[in-house]
Symmetry: C2
DNA sequence: CAATTTATGTCAACAAGGCTGACATAAATT
DNA sequence: AATTTATGTCAGCCTTGTTGACATAAATTG
């Protein structure tokens, strides 16, 4: 490969990219920073357990869908079984999750949280829920529906079914935006 | 350390965690899935260049704030200089970014995109902007303000100043939510 | 029943992108 | 002249993703 001499040929562009370039930078950056801080609270907590984000996701979904199989979990997380194996093994060995052989199909391993695993899931979710609640305080119930609708349509259409199956979750949001006020249920 | 026998002692919890546990799981999961898909488009594109998310962030902010120094970039990204060095070197060597010695302070290296770097930043931002625009189509101009206000208050207060300094961006959102319709400017 | 497929587990190697610690250089500051 | 600052670089480590290969037990199929 021929080495180029980019520094001598390429010229520096000194003007910033802005909204004028037809890109919604405000939203892109807000989403980036918001998500970064959204994950920062659980990240800190996880570090004290010696766990990482991967453990968080596993603990979360096992608590949300107790009894799901390894294959189902892989499908939700979209990672390989080898990736899952490492963190899942740790969580099982340290007593946060237990496996129970499936009844209908004894090849399957159903995943359940222990009391310890339930506590961890709650502890991880609490600061995130608090952050969201805080961000919603200035908004009314209808705004909440707007935000849910927005976030939901940011998700790839073919993956939305996953969300809809989660218990008591966002699947209940009307596709048409502006659902009935959730707060009054 | 004594090894416990968790499988024999710990009992499986069979009930799912739900909203009833006082946690806003709907929002937590929507945010998770939305962000995951939000990053999937650029991720795919980056792979064709042999780049990763780290490169994306660098290219993005150098294009948004041309001439920022290495130290400033580190502050925005919140990573170590050793982490940055790897990806930055690659981007410089392949001609996406160039460094120019600072004028006032010649120790500093000001970072600028090349034309190639500008094109890449635009190509990466385009699908994200499209996804956002699509998610906003069903919503009105006032809803946009609601979402911006929500995302902004998800960010740690002390880090919000960073956002406010970005050109033509979300810093312009009124803190009180419901800004004047952006679309009519 | 035998053969095949399926669900899961496991070993090994690799890559990206974080991290820490240590040290080097040049330029600014004191 | 001495110190601090901005940057670069080397080396090694960790987490979490990847691929490929192979093993086992249970279900399914011909």
């Amino acid at each position: 490969m021929m080495a180029k001499k980019p520094a001598e040929l390429a010229k520096a562009i000194r003007t910033p990219l802005t909204v004028d370039d037809g890109i919604d930078f405000a939203m892109i950056e807000l989403f980036f920073f918001a998500y970064r801080d959204f994950t920062s609270d659980p990240d800190q907590l996880l570090a004290t357990y010696g766990f990482g984000r991967a453990h968080h996701r596993v603990v979360h979904f096992v608590n949300r869908i107790p009894g799901l199989t390894v294959a189902e979990l892989l499908d939700v997380l979209k990672i390989t079984k080898q990736s899952l194996a490492r963190v899942l093994k740790q969580l099982i060995d340290t007593g946060y999750i237990i496996q129970i052989q499936g009844l209908r199909d004894r090849r399957q391993r159903e995943l359940y949280p222990t009391a310890k695993g339930r506590d961890l899931a709650l502890a991880l979710a609490a600061p995130q829920s608090r952050r969201i609640a805080n961000a919603l305080t200035r908004l009314d119930a209808q705004d909440r529906g707007t935000i849910e609708a927005f976030l939901k349509s940011m998700v790839d259409p073919d993956l939305r079914t996953q969300i809809e199956q989660l218990p008591g979750g966002a699947g209940n949001v009307q596709d048409k935006a502006i659902a009935e006020p959730e707060a009054t249920r």
